[in-house]
């Protein structure tokens, strides 16, 4: 599991790649810290390479969403696969995020 963050002007793009399971979540939570402090940005969570997510991964997504709202940022989830979309449906995350 790798997380890479790129800054494009007003945009912050996080590229997730691999399986975001409980074991990987510890490191991922560290990796996304810059996103939590970003104010007035557009945060894009790029999931093109993300294969799998469990509740610990969802928690990271939710905390990014909460912090963004508090700092006036906006969060967009991009390119989720069918499996992950199903998880988003089951947890009501589809209505919490803008999904592209």
């Amino acid at each position: 599991m790798t997380t890479t963050i790129q800054e494009n002007g007003n945009q912050l793009v996080a590229f997730f790649s691999g399986r975001l399971d409980t074991a990987a979540a510890v490191q991922t939570a560290e990796d996304v810290k810059p996103l939590l402090e970003a104010a007035n940005k557009e945060i894009i969570l790029d999931c093109t390479e993300l294969e799998y997510i469990s509740s610990s991964g969802l928690r990271i997504f939710l905390s990014i969403r909460k912090e963004a709202a508090a700092h006036g940022s906006k969060v967009i989830v991009r390119n989720i696969n069918a499996d992950i979309r199903q998880v988003f449906m089951m947890t009501g995350f589809v209505s919490l995020f803008v999904i592209e």
Binding site: R19, T22, V26, Y52, S54, S55, A69, M90, T91, G92
Partner: protein, 671 residues
């Protein structure tokens, strides 16, 4: 003093000659004991060969026109038996018109692990001219050829055994031939047959050909010769001990005696009287003890070498677990158990040979070899038993019989096909129904009683976590010093006792029963072998430590289960949530384990996948967690609680129970 001297001289002469007699007697006993051990060793191999030849003939008879089966059978025989160099089936000329006049399917060992199988009959290789074929063709028992040097490169002496194959009309249509290397025997036998430093031995075939060549005798030297004939092969084993070798020690002692005589008549007289009393006794008892110990040692070694000893036995097959043990009585008996897995089926047997001692353990060895060779081609319990019985009766010269239970468990479906030949009915512990009862068995007849008996098999469906307990009468007939027996009733009651109830590990169960019997007999000497075996049919399991870093192994495990592709991720997710919970909360500050098991159940409405997650941590019921509200906005949503919510969403049933200090969570997904 002169009178005393003459008397003493006479006494020492008598002493000398009685000692000679005693020494000769001892040498004879020793030679015979060793001969018998050598005979046993040889017979073990010849029985193996004859069994293989007969089994092969049976198989070929069944598939007489199917060349592929014949090739497969010869190939397997060589692969299974390490000492075999080649196995062939040669048909009468023109049997397969399309294959030419001569047809001989032959499998030869090239190296330890590779076997070469092909057709070798041709006008140039006309087996019908060969002795093994001609004799195999006309004899209706195993025919042993003269040993010869193998010309295929190994340069080892080889012996072969032939046996005829008949068609449905009873006409001989082919001959089976099995070749075995003798170099193993040549290396092994000196252990037994080299009885004195300068003695030697020889083995000759029935026609006088040398298998192990003896030294030439020297004219004028006296020799003591002892021999034994091997029934099956007609071989002669001979031990030759030169006289001077035998009495070397005695002559040496004689000189010392002479010197001592000069030193003091009285002292000498006292010594002679003393030694003449004790010497003879000592010689007699040591010879006897040695013989018995040797016999028991050989028999015991054979017995233990044959039983499966590695537990848990199957690394790759996770849904059966087996444990077996034999506690031998002081005198070697003939109990056996055996099991192995082939084609996802568990083949197992347990048996008890009538009688004790070396003959019983030989029969036991033969039974195991028959069980292995017949089940390698036959998966029908009744037919296996019928064939074993037939082969056993043919070879049973000593009127021995044995009780035997055979089972073939399909590890995929849990269906058990079993056949009983007069053995004690096994106990079936049905964990789902909390029921313990004796398996319903048709007794049939013990093996070796009636060669034509058609055995009846029975079937039972085992559910996951059911346990089959098999035993010999050494368990129920274990006696305490008052001659009261452990008995069947007491044994059955033990299964429902606290401590054994709910015990699902085969090893623990057998060990517990062993401990119960030992408590019962309270130190009384065991008179019969005590053999127990337990088989658990279980869900395929995964064991993890409470370390989050182990989570990726769960995904690999789910992949290996072969669940439908579209459900793979969901199942992985639900299990990860549950397992993570256990890892994080069940063992605060401690190391612990979590066990995940899975199974497929057929129900009326279709199939169900079942998973159980078990841990020995603090009581924790995840189903009591409050349901999260997924309709809330991000600001109102709590961070936690998503895991169990996902589990509930994915699975059709989620059930928690706490038993035996364990948390057990059961998840069910309908397919």
């Amino acid at each position: 003093m002169i009178v005393a001297g003459i008397a003493l001289e006479a006494i020492s002469c008598i002493m000398y000659f009685t000692s000679r007699v005693a020494i000769r007697h001892e040498a004879e006993l020793r030679a015979k004991t060793e001969l018998r051990k050598a005979e046993l060793e040889i017979e073990l191999h010849t029985i193996e060969m004859e069994t293989a030849a007969k089994t092969l003939a049976l198989l070929v008879e069944k598939h007489i026109d199917c060349l592929d089966s014949v090739y497969a059978a010869t190939d397997l025989a060589v692969r299974t038996m390490r000492t075999f160099t080649s196995v062939a089936v040669a048909y009468v000329p023109d049997y397969f018109p399309k294959a030419g006049r001569y047809f001989e399917a032959c499998s030869s060992r090239i190296t330890e692990d590779s076997v070469y199988t092909r057709q070798i009959g041709s006008a140039a290789h006309d087996y019908t001219e060969m002795e093994w074929w001609q004799n195999g063709f006309v004899h209706d028992s195993c025919w042993w050829c003269e040993p010869y040097m193998d010309d295929s490169g190994s340069e080892a002496p080889v012996v072969s055994c032939s046996y005829p194959v008949c068609n449905a009309q009873g006409e001989v249509v082919a001959v089976v031939c099995v070749d075995m290397r003798l170099d193993y025997l040549q290396q092994k036998l000196p252990e037994y047959l080299q009885v004195y430093k300068n003695s030697y031995f020889s083995i000759r075939s029935s026609k006088g050909g040398d298998i192990v060549r003896a030294m030439d005798t020297v004219p004028g030297r006296k020799y003591n010769i002892y021999n034994e004939e091997i029934d099956a092969t007609g071989w002669h084993i001979e031990i030759v001990i030169p006289d001077d070798e035998l009495f070397k020690d005695l002559n040496h002692t004689g000189k010392i005696v002479g010197i001592l005589m000069l030193l003091g008549l009285v002292l000498l007289a006292m010594m002679l009287i003393h030694s003449s009393r004790t010497n003879k006794k000592l010689l007699e008892s040591t010879a006897k003890n040695q013989r018995m110990e040797n016999e028991l040692y050989v028999a015991g070694a054979i017995q233990t070498a044959m039983l499966p000893k590695v537990f848990p036995p199957f690394q790759d097959l996770r849904n059966v677990n087996v444990y077996g043990t034999v506690k031998p009585a002081k005198e070697v008996g003939g109990d056996l158990y055996d099991f192995y897995v082939r084609h996802d089926k568990l083949f197992f047997c347990i048996g008890d040979v009538s009688g004790k001692g070396v003959p019983a353990s030989l029969v036991m060895a033969m039974t195991r070899s028959l069980f292995r060779s017949i089940t390698s081609h036959d998966e029908d319990a009744a037919s296996v038993m019928t064939k074993m019985n037939k082969a056993f009766v043919e070879q049973n010269t000593q009127n021995m019989f044995l009780t035997l239970f055979i089972g073939i468990l399909d590890c995929q479906t849990g269906k058990l096909d079993y056949c009983n030949a007069g053995h004690n009915a096994p106990v079936l512990v049905e964990s789902q129904k909390s029921k313990v009862e004796k398996l319903n068995v048709v007794p049939n007849l013990p093996l070796g009683v009636e060669g034509e008996w058609e055995f009846t098999a029975q079937q039972v469906q085992m559910a996951y976590n059911d346990l089959l307990f098999l035993y010999t009468d050494g368990l129920t007939e274990a006696e305490r010093s008052s001659h009261e027996q452990f008995g069947e009733e007491r044994m059955m009651k033990r299964f429902t006792d606290e401590g054994m109830k709910g015990l699902v590990d085969p090893r623990k169960l057998v060990e517990k029963m062993q401990a119960e019997v030992e408590t019962f007999v309270d130190g009384a000497e065991q008179s019969d072998d005590l053999t127990m075996m337990a088989i658990r049919y279980q869900l395929p399991a995964l064991i993890m430590r409470n370390d989050i870093q182990q989570i990726p192994t769960l995904a690999e495990w789910v992949d290996s289960l072969g669940v439908p592709q579209e459900l793979n991720m969901q199942i992985n997710l639900a299990l990860e949530e549950v397992v993570t919970n256990v890892m994080l909360y069940a063992y605060p500050g401690q190391n612990g384990q979590v066990l995940v098991e899975s199974g497929k159940w057929k129900v009326e409405s279709g199939e169900k996948l079942i998973f159980t997650i078990t841990d020995s941590g603090i009581p924790f019921d995840p189903t009591q967690k409050e349901e999260v509200d997924t309709t809330l906005s991000a600001e109102e949503r709590q961070i936690g609680g998503l895991g169990i919510h996902l589990v509930r969403q994915i699975m059709d049933e989620v059930k928690y129970e706490r038993t035996n200090n364990q948390n057990i969570l059961t998840l069910v997904k309908k397919l």
